[in-house]
C-alpha cells in the first residue's frame, strides 16, 4: 500500500490506532522477526497478562502504522508498548518499568478505575450463567437485560428467549398438544371419555405464563443472591470500556468495566412485505397471545415454524405452513422430510414453493381476519388465503446492530450480524467476548450458551483451561413426531467424507404405545451414520419418534465417548422401548434392504 498522503486517510488511521490503544489493557505494536519485540511479548506472557499484538511487518499498511505511531509518540522503533492508554515505550523502557514496579502500577491503576470487572450484555441463559459464575469467582459483575417490545407490544421478563418465548413455552404447548393425542389414544385403552373434549387456550396460556413468571423471579433472586448487579436497561457501548444503560423511563446511566461479554441473542426476522409488522405475529407474541389464534398460517419452515405449526394443529386448529424451499435447513433432509410428512398426515397443510407478498386486514378482532397474498417461486401464479393469525418464522437476526459495537471495533459479519470469535469466545477486541446465538458458525442452543458462558468465566477468573466443545452437540426439534439428532446430517457427512466412506444403518420402528391405538405404524425412524475409515465410529445420530430429547441425550454422551457401531451392537437394549432400536440396527441404507418393522 502506498503511503497515505491525504488528511482523511491519516485521521482514519490515527483513530484506528487510538481505538487499539484505548480498547486494550496492553497493546504492543511489534514486528514478528524483531528479538526485542519477542522479549516484550514473552514478559507479558510470563506475567499472564492479556495483550493485543499488531505485527506491523505482516500487514500491508504496516509502514503507515509505523509512521503514524512516530507522529503520535515520537517513537519510530518497535516494540511500541501501551498500557492502559499510556505510552510506555520500547523494549528497554518496558523492562525497566517492570523492574521498578511502574508497570504494575500502570496495570492496577486502570483496573481499579473501572466500575466492574465484568459487564454482561444480555440476561439470557448464556449471560446469566456467565455473570453468576464470574461473581462466584469473586468478581464484581453486572448483567443488563432489556426486552424491546415486539411491534405488537409483547414484552417479557428476565431470562432471555429460551425461558420466555422459546424452549420453555414451546415445550409446554407441545406437551399440551400431545396430551390431546393421549386423550384420543386413551379411548382405545378403555378410558371412557366424553366425546366433546375441548381445549381452552386461555387456561393453557395462563398456566404457562405463570410458570414463566416464577422462573423470571427465580433468576432475579439468584442474581441478587450471588451478588450480580442486574439492571433492567438497554445497553450500548459509548467507548470500548464504557456503556450507556437506558431504562424504560429513558434514564441514562453509564458504567465501565475491564471486560465485557456480549450475550444479546436474536429476535425473529420479519419479511419486509406490506402488512407484516402491522398484522402478523412471531414466536415472540404467540406464547402470550391473549386469544386463541384460530385458523393460522405459519410462514417459514424453520424449526420454530414447524414446532409452532405442529402444536397449534395439535390443539385442533386449522394450520397451514407456507414453505419457500426446504424444511429445517441445516438439519438432515431425510429426517426433516419425514417429520414434515408426519405433520401433513396429521392435518397440517403445506403450501410449498410460495412466498408471501402482502398481508391485509379484512376485519379487526381477537382474532381478526387477514388476507395473505403469495406468489409461486416457480411461476407467475399468485394465490390468496384467509386466516385469523399469520405467524412469521423465517429465521432470526442477531441483536448486534444497535449496541454501539462501532465504538469498540468489534468485528461483525456485515451480512448476518453475527460475531466471529476465537475458540475461547474472544472477539477481535481482546477485552470483549461473545457467547450464545450471536456467534458466527456456532449452535443456537440454550445449553451451548450456558456451557460457553460458564467455561468462559472460569477461564477468565478461575484459572480454568477448558473450552466449550461445539462438536457433537445433541438437540431435538419438538415437531409433533419429535426429531432428535447429534453429530452430522447424512447430507453433511457425505460432503465431508464421501458416500463411499460411510455406512448408514437405519430402521423404521413402531413404538409399543402406538400399537394398541393402532396409529403411525412405520413412521418412526432411526438412523446412524458411521465412518468406515474410523472403525465405524458413529458420526451422525438421528431419531424420529416419541421422547426424542430423552432418547438423544444419552446417545450424545456415547458419541462424546467416541461410540462405534460395534459398541452399539454390544449394548443390551431395554425392552420394550424405542431407543433399543439403536442396539439392533442391521440394515444398511446402501443394501436397500427392508426396514419396515412388525412387533417384537
Amino acid at each position: 500500500m502506498p503511503p497515505i498522503e491525504n488528511d482523511t486517510g491519516k485521521n482514519e488511521l490515527k483513530s484506528q490506532i487510538q481505538l487499539l490503544i484505548d480498547s486494550n489493557q496492553v497493546m504492543v505494536f511489534s514486528k514478528s522477526y524483531c528479538p526485542y519485540c519477542v522479549k516484550v511479548k514473552d514478559l507479558f506472557k510470563e506475567l499472564k497478562l492479556e495483550f493485543n499484538v499488531m505485527e506491523l511487518d505482516l500487514m500491508e499498511d504496516g509502514t503507515n502504522y509505523q509512521d503514524m505511531l512516530l507522529e503520535m509518540t515520537g517513537q519510530k522503533s518497535v516494540p511500541n508498548v501501551f498500557i492502559n492508554k499510556t505510552h510506555v515505550g520500547g523494549c528497554d523502557k518496558t523492562m525497566q518499568a517492570h523492574k521498578d514496579g511502574s508497570l504494575q502500577q500502570l496495570l492496577c491503576g486502570e483496573s481499579e478505575a473501572y466500575d466492574y470487572d465484568l459487564i454482561v450484555i444480555g440476561g439470557g441463559s448464556g449471560g446469566l450463567a456467565c455473570s453468576k459464575e464470574a461473581a462466584a469467582l469473586g468478581k464484581k459483575a453486572m448483567v443488563l437485560d432489556y426486552v424491546v417490545p415486539t411491534p405488537k407490544g409483547t414484552t417479557w421478563g428476565l431470562g432471555g428467549t429460551c425461558v420466555n418465548v422459546g424452549c420453555i413455552p414451546k415445550k409446554l404447548m407441545h406437551q399440551t398438544a400431545m396430551l390431546g393425542t393421549a386423550i384420543q389414544d386413551a379411548r382405545k385403552f378403555g378410558w371412557e371419555i366424553d366425546e366433546s373434549v375441548k381445549h381452552n387456550w386461555d387456561t393453557m396460556k395462563e398456566a404457562v405464563n405463570n410458570y414463566i413468571g416464577s422462573l423470571n423471579w427465580g433468576y432475579r433472586v439468584a442474581l441478587r443472591d450471588k451478588n450480580v448487579n442486574y439492571v433492567n436497561a438497554y445497553a450500548e457501548f459509548v467507548e470500548p470500556h464504557k456503556i450507556k444503560a437506558t431504562n424504560k423511563r429513558g434514564k441514562e446511566t453509564f458504567y465501565t468495566a475491564a471486560k465485557f461479554v456480549l450475550a444479546t441473542g436474536e429476535r425473529p426476522r420479519y419479511l419486509g412485505i406490506p402488512g407484516d409488522k402491522e398484522y402478523c405475529i412471531t414466536s415472540d407474541d404467540l406464547f402470550s397471545l391473549p386469544h386463541c389464534p384460530g385458523k393460522t398460517l405459519v410462514i417459514g419452515a424453520s424449526y420454530v415454524a414447524l414446532e409452532c405449526g405442529g402444536f397449534l394443529a395439535g390443539l385442533g386448529l386449522d394450520v397451514t405452513v407456507m414453505v419457500r424451499s426446504i424444511l429445517l435447513r441445516g438439519f438432515d433432509q431425510e429426517m426433516a422430510n419425514r417429520a414434515g410428512e408426519h405433520m401433513e398426515e396429521h392435518g397440517v397443510k403445506f403450501l410449498r414453493k410460495y412466498v408471501p407478498v402482502k398481508v391485509e386486514e379484512l376485519e379487526a378482532g381477537s382474532p381478526g381476519r387477514l388476507k395473505v397474498t403469495a406468489k409461486s417461486t416457480e411461476s407467475d401464479e399468485v394465490i390468496e388465503g384467509e386466516y385469523n393469525t399469520v405467524l412469521i418464522a423465517v429465521g432470526r437476526d442477531a441483536c448486534t446492530d444497535k449496541i454501539g459495537l462501532d465504538k469498540t471495533g468489534v468485528k461483525v459479519n456485515p451480512k448476518t450480524g453475527k460475531i466471529p470469535v476465537s475458540d475461547e469466545e474472544q472477539t477481535n477486541v481482546p477485552h470483549i467476548y461473545a457467547i450464545g446465538d450471536i456467534l458466527e458458525g456456532k449452535w443456537e442452543l440454550t445449553p451451548v450458551a450456558i456451557q460457553a458462558g460458564r467455561l468462559l468465566a472460569r477461564r477468565l477468573y478461575g484459572g480454568g483451561t477448558l473450552k466449550c466443545d461445539y462438536i457433537n452437540v445433541p438437540t431435538t426439534v419438538f415437531t409433533p413426531l419429535e426429531y432428535g439428532c447429534c453429530g452430522l446430517s447424512e447430507d453433511r457427512a457425505i460432503e465431508l467424507y464421501g458416500q463411499e466412506n460411510l455406512e448408514v444403518f437405519h430402521s423404521l420402528f413402531w413404538p409399543l404405545e402406538f400399537t394398541v391405538p393402532n396409529r403411525d405404524n412405520n413412521k418412526c425412524y432411526a438412523k446412524i451414520i458411521c465412518n468406515k475409515l474410523d472403525n465405524d465410529r458413529v458420526i451422525g445420530f438421528h431419531y424420529l419418534g416419541p421422547n426424542a430429547g430423552e432418547v438423544t441425550q444419552g446417545f450424545g454422551t456415547a458419541m462424546k465417548c467416541g461410540a462405534t457401531k460395534e459398541q452399539l451392537d454390544n449394548t443390551i437394549g431395554i425392552h420394550p422401548t424405542c431407543a433399543e432400536v439403536f442396539t439392533t440396527l442391521e440394515v444398511t441404507k446402501s443394501s436397500g434392504g427392508d426396514i419396515t418393522q412388525s412387533g417384537c
Binding site: N210, G213, S214, N216, W217, R220, V221, R224, D225
Partner: protein, 123 residues
C-alpha cells in the same frame, strides 16, 4: 402513621378474609409457624427470618398491605393436605410472598435482607 397497613391473622380462613377485604391492593404476606405463650415460634427458621423481614418493612411500598399470618401448630402444618399447602401452594415456612404474583421467598431465602428488600422495592 405507617405508610403501609399491617394485619395479623391466624389460620387459612382469617388469611382469606384479610385478602378479600383488601382487593386491588399490593399485598405482601408473611407465613410463619405459630408462636407459643413466650412469643417464640415452633419453627426455628421463622425465628431467624422474622427480624430480617421486619427490618426491611420500612421499604414497603406506599399504600401496601403486610399480612403477618400464623399458619398453625406444627402438627397442622406438617399435614401435606393443609389448606396453605393445597390451595396457596406453600412449600415451607417461613414464606414471604407478594400476593397474586410469582414473587416468593421460601425458608432460608427469607434470611437474606437484600432479597426481602428486592421484593419490597422492585416491580
Amino acid at each position: 402513621m405507617a405508610h403501609y397497613e399491617e394485619v395479623t391473622v391466624r389460620g387459612y380462613d382469617e388469611f382469606c378474609q384479610a385478602i378479600s377485604e383488601r382487593k386491588g391492593k399490593d399485598i405482601f404476606a408473611y407465613f410463619s409457624g405459630d408462636k407459643d405463650a413466650q412469643g417464640k415460634s415452633w419453627c426455628p427458621d421463622c425465628v431467624t427470618a422474622e427480624p430480617v423481614v421486619r427490618g426491611e418493612m420500612t421499604h414497603l411500598p406506599e399504600g401496601s398491605v403486610f399480612i403477618y399470618c400464623q399458619v398453625g401448630e406444627r402438627a397442622y402444618w406438617k399435614d401435606s393436605n393443609n389448606q396453605f399447602k393445597k390451595t396457596l401452594k406453600l412449600s415451607g415456612v417461613p414464606t414471604l410472598l407478594r400476593y397474586g404474583t410469582p414473587q416468593k421467598l421460601v425458608e432460608d431465602e427469607c434470611f437474606k435482607s437484600d432479597l426481602v428488600r428486592m421484593m419490597f422495592t422492585e416491580d
